[in-house]
Symmetry: C2
Subunit: 201 residues, 2 copies
């Protein structure tokens, strides 16, 4: 069975999901397909020019405390970023262009930790290069490829696909026609994928 993990680098609740989706899925023999997309155009369609967590301060205040608790529970580092949301365009292009690379999950996790554990500027090309080099990768080559017209088109198409799938937020877990929204629905998504996998074909 396959579970599509749709994530956006600026999305807060995508961080704890990115850190645990692989191990949870592997335990159940489920393959994770990493799907990077942009929430900006989707929020714009809903009339928002900013994150709803900034537009609705009570919701935002709650989310930061909730995220802090979740990270504590998951035993992953957390530091509230001084800029929110950060622009993850380059990272998203890399994650989309190199979706099938074996190093991709580790790269994605490294960018999330940059943003939400170390308060680093993930819109900065040097930071993204560091994340790649720490994985012993050729950062110049990867960044050049990810900045090509072909790569830009790929991410645009993937974001279009997210709109077709009616993905209105992140993280979103997709199994066939079923969608599960939010880090706290990951267990339900895994359970669903497991159930589908055991049904007669």
């Amino acid at each position: 069975m396959k579970l599509e993990f749709w994530f956006e680098f600026g999305s807060t609740y995508s961080y704890p999901s990115a850190m645990r989706v692989e191990s949870l899925a592997a335990n159940k023999n489920i393959e994770v397909v990493w799907r990077s997309f942009l929430l900006g155009p989707i929020f714009k369609d809903q009339g928002w020019n900013n994150s709803p967590f900034n537009l609705y301060p009570a919701k935002g205040k709650y989310m930061w405390r909730d995220l802090e608790r979740i990270c504590e529970e998951q035993n992953i580092p957390f530091k509230r970023p001084s800029v929110f949301p950060r622009n993850g365009l380059l990272a998203a292009r890399i994650a989309c262009f190199y979706a099938d690379a074996d190093w991709l999950p580790k790269f994605v996790q490294s960018v999330y930790q940059g943003n939400f554990a170390h308060d680093l500027d993930i819109s900065n090309t040097d930071l993204i290069a560091d994340c790649l080099e720490n994985l012993n990768l050729d950062s110049s080559h990867i960044i050049e490829e990810a900045s090509s017209e072909q790569s830009k088109a790929l991410l645009r198409e993937q974001t279009e696909r997210a709109i077709e799938l009616e993905l209105f937020g992140a993280p979103m877990f997709v199994i066939g026609k079923e969608r599960f929204w939010g880090n706290d629905r990951l267990e339900a998504a895994i359970k669903w994928a497991e159930k589908q996998g055991s049904l007669p074909k």
Copy 2:
């Protein structure tokens, strides 16, 4: 330990929570305090004159499917209401005025089932009277008391208190200063209450 369960009768995800909060909490020796409030004034403060599930159709479509799955998982009946959100004002006044009555949880559950399992009009006084009479209660007396100026003021005050607590949605679980939002955070709220109960005073 006490866990405050803040709910609104029109709120979809409050339904599965209302059906399970008591048994989950009782297992851990946690007392549930039932807190009825109105989301309307809170949504209005956020610039919404309707449920966000109606204002944002993609989110709404997702929610109905998600709720269906959750009810299946919890083994409780579900039928999508033909009117949404329904006006639960009278039920909320009763739930607020009689918050400490031993029949209150059963009444609340019965109204939720009317709305989300049987597609009944919970804004109708006769339906609310039925819910009370099925519990062998004096419906005329209760409805009269709940419609008094004192009762109306109580619900207004409780909704004011919800605003002070920055409750921006329902269900919301409150333990001291901690808030947990949504049916899918109930387990985390119970765990939190348990942890607090075991800390040295």
